[in-house]
């Protein structure tokens, strides 16, 4: 029973890492840019929702605040790409890296000014409720995280494999020039991808804030999610989720069976091993062009 509870809470954390990692990979695959502010996107999404729904701020109903926060983060991603990142076209990749790192600092600062630096929790209707299953006691918040992640994954799978826009995004990420030749509006798709990454980050943030407390510096969780994405295979969407789940599971188990401090080290040790023995990650998506 003990082990099962560790598994569930590990999976719940892992889902959140996985969703942030998904944001990294979405943007990387489509645009070859790495958004180091992805963790801060999550933080921002959580605070936007919290700002709407918590009693000390606006106190709007939870079920209105959630979609609103997701939409706002989508618009944020869209316009960020459209107005800022597009100007970086033709610049070396490192310029985008620096830009997004700086953006992360700005977002943390802005969030601190608006919502303060004290840890706060999202007032979700699920908080504190328990699900009893024989001898097993699970928090509804953790179960919700897992369920929402599963649903979101299925939606994204459907989107990328069945819709015209989704397949076009895949096409553009596999061969950008050929996508131009086919009349696919690649630049607009890049804006959409950033919007999508913003929305996924908002979902991750809302889930995170409903099962624990957040503060502006929580965005630094993005680094761990980045490690998760690399473990799973940077460039593979299922890999990002898998990497997130692995990191999420390693933490509670190493804290329990090795020593408490190890939970912070083990993900990076795994990252190290993966980089040495399987540098493309677990679910590498490598193909070589026929000449």
């Amino acid at each position: 029973m003990d082990v099962l509870q560790l598994v569930v809470s590990g999976l719940a954390n892992g889902c959140i890492y996985g969703l942030i990692a998904l944001g990294f990979v979405l943007i990387y695959k489509a645009t070859e840019q790495v958004n180091f502010a992805q963790g801060d996107f999550m933080m921002l999404g959580a605070f936007v929702c919290l700002g709407f729904t918590n009693a000390e701020f606006l106190g709007w109903p939870f079920w209105i605040s959630v979609p609103l926060a997701i939409l706002i983060m989508g618009a944020f991603g869209y316009f960020l790409e459209n107005l800022v990142l597009r100007q970086m076209f033709g610049q070396p990749q490192v310029a985008v890296v620096i830009l997004t790192i700086a953006l992360g600092f700005v977002l943390r600062f802005v969030a601190g000014v608006i919502w303060g630096h004290e840890p706060v929790s999202l007032e979700s209707p699920l908080a504190g409720k328990e699900l009893r299953f024989g001898g097993l006691v699970l928090g509804w918040d953790e179960v919700t995280v897992i369920l929402v992640t599963v649903v979101l994954t299925l939606l994204l799978y459907f989107y990328f494999s069945r819709t015209r826009l989704g397949v076009a995004m895949q096409a553009a990420s596999q061969n950008q020039l050929a996508a131009y030749y086919m009349g696919i509006p690649v630049k607009r798709l890049h804006s959409f991808i950033w919007a999508l990454a913003g929305m996924v980050a908002a979902v991750a943030g809302i889930l995170f804030a409903s099962k624990g407390s957040i503060e502006p510096s929580i965005g630094l969780l993005g680094i761990k999610a980045f490690a998760a994405a690399v473990i799973g295979g940077f460039g593979s969407l299922p890999g990002a989720l898998l990497g997130g789940l692995i990191v999420g599971l390693i933490e509670p188990f190493s804290a329990r069976y090795i020593a408490a401090g190890y939970s912070q080290v083990m993900p990076y040790l795994l990252l190290f091993l993966i980089l040495v023995f399987r540098p493309h990650g677990i679910l590498a998506q490598v193909h070589s062009k026929k000449v």
Binding site: R164, V167, A168, Q170, A171, Q174, N175, L177, A178, A179, Y180, Y181, M182, G183, I184, P185, Q285, H287, K289, K290, V291
Partner: protein
């Protein structure tokens, strides 16, 4: 000897679909096209020959809107398309089949074809064209559910042409369809290009290094060197031309004459 090159500039006949005038394109500070002019007529296959680095691919890229010209006009059916976005050009009816079979490697063959029709919304027409394309390239129907990256080189080239056709183009820009293919495949692909031109009425602009094959299938030909058009004539006459024979077809007279010559001077210089 520049009369031939200047010929396109004189008159634009009524059946001209594409006319390029004094086009200049740069890669950063490097000139790739230095004032090229040419015409493509309705229903023709026009070929542009030239060595590596002559600017042939750049010419096509500039027409299809992937690159912006520095100077000059590109008129397509009376409409100026110089500097237009690539998706506008595709919507206008020009599709560019790039060199080196640039397929979407992880998408299936069927998905690749559907991406060719990205600019279209007529589902019935798309399905019809899918069947049309399958009738020309039956192998693509067999391999419909296979990832395009797993096809052989020749099949990928067929897929690239078929994907271009899915946009239902009136003018197709073909960049080196013979690149890296065996002679028998080259023959097959050029046969299909000819048939598409005759049966579907697709006007073709064909860029090739393989001058013999290209001139045999084309109606009209241009020779490009260092970013300029240096010769323009009917394909048959180009095939007979001494310059083209020596520099692009590798046919030499010296063995017959039995005398040693270093290199013939090009008459267009």
């Amino acid at each position: 000897m520049l009369q031939a090159a200047e010929k396109p500039g004189d008159k634009v006949s009524a059946d001209t679909v594409l006319s390029v005038r004094n086009l200049e394109s740069y890669y950063g500070p490097i000139v790739a096209i230095r004032g090229a002019s040419l015409d493509v007529r309705q229903g023709q296959i026009v070929t542009v020959l030239g060595a590596n680095g002559a600017g042939k691919t750049t010419l096509l890229k500039t027409i299809s809107g992937v690159m912006n010209p520095e100077k000059g006009q590109i008129t397509y059916n009376g409409r100026d398309i110089a500097g237009a976005e690539a998706d506008e050009v595709v919507r206008a009816g020009i599709v560019h089949v790039p060199e080196g079979r640039e397929v979407f490697p992880l998408l299936t063959v069927a998905e690749n074809l559907r991406m060719g029709a990205y600019t279209r919304n007529d589902l019935a027409g798309i399905r019809e064209d899918e069947e049309m394309v399958h009738s020309y390239f039956p192998i693509l129907k067999e391999r419909a559910r296979q990832a395009a990256g797993t096809l052989s080189g020749g099949q990928q080239q067929m897929l690239a042409i078929a994907r271009g056709l899915m946009a239902r183009p009136k003018l197709m820009l073909l960049d080196e369809p013979s690149l890296g293919l065996s002679p028998i495949l080259v023959k097959e692909i050029f046969g299909i290009i000819r048939r598409l031109n005759e049966e579907q009425g697709v006007t073709m602009m064909l860029v090739e290094q393989n001058a013999m094959v290209a001139l045999n299938v084309a109606d009209y030909g241009y020779v490009m060197e260092l970013g300029r058009i240096v010769m323009a004539d009917d394909a048959k006459r180009l095939l007979q031309s001494k310059d083209v024979q020596e520099f692009y077809l590798g046919i030499k007279e010296e063995s017959q004459r039995g005398q040693k010559r270093w290199k013939q001077k090009k008459t267009w210089r």
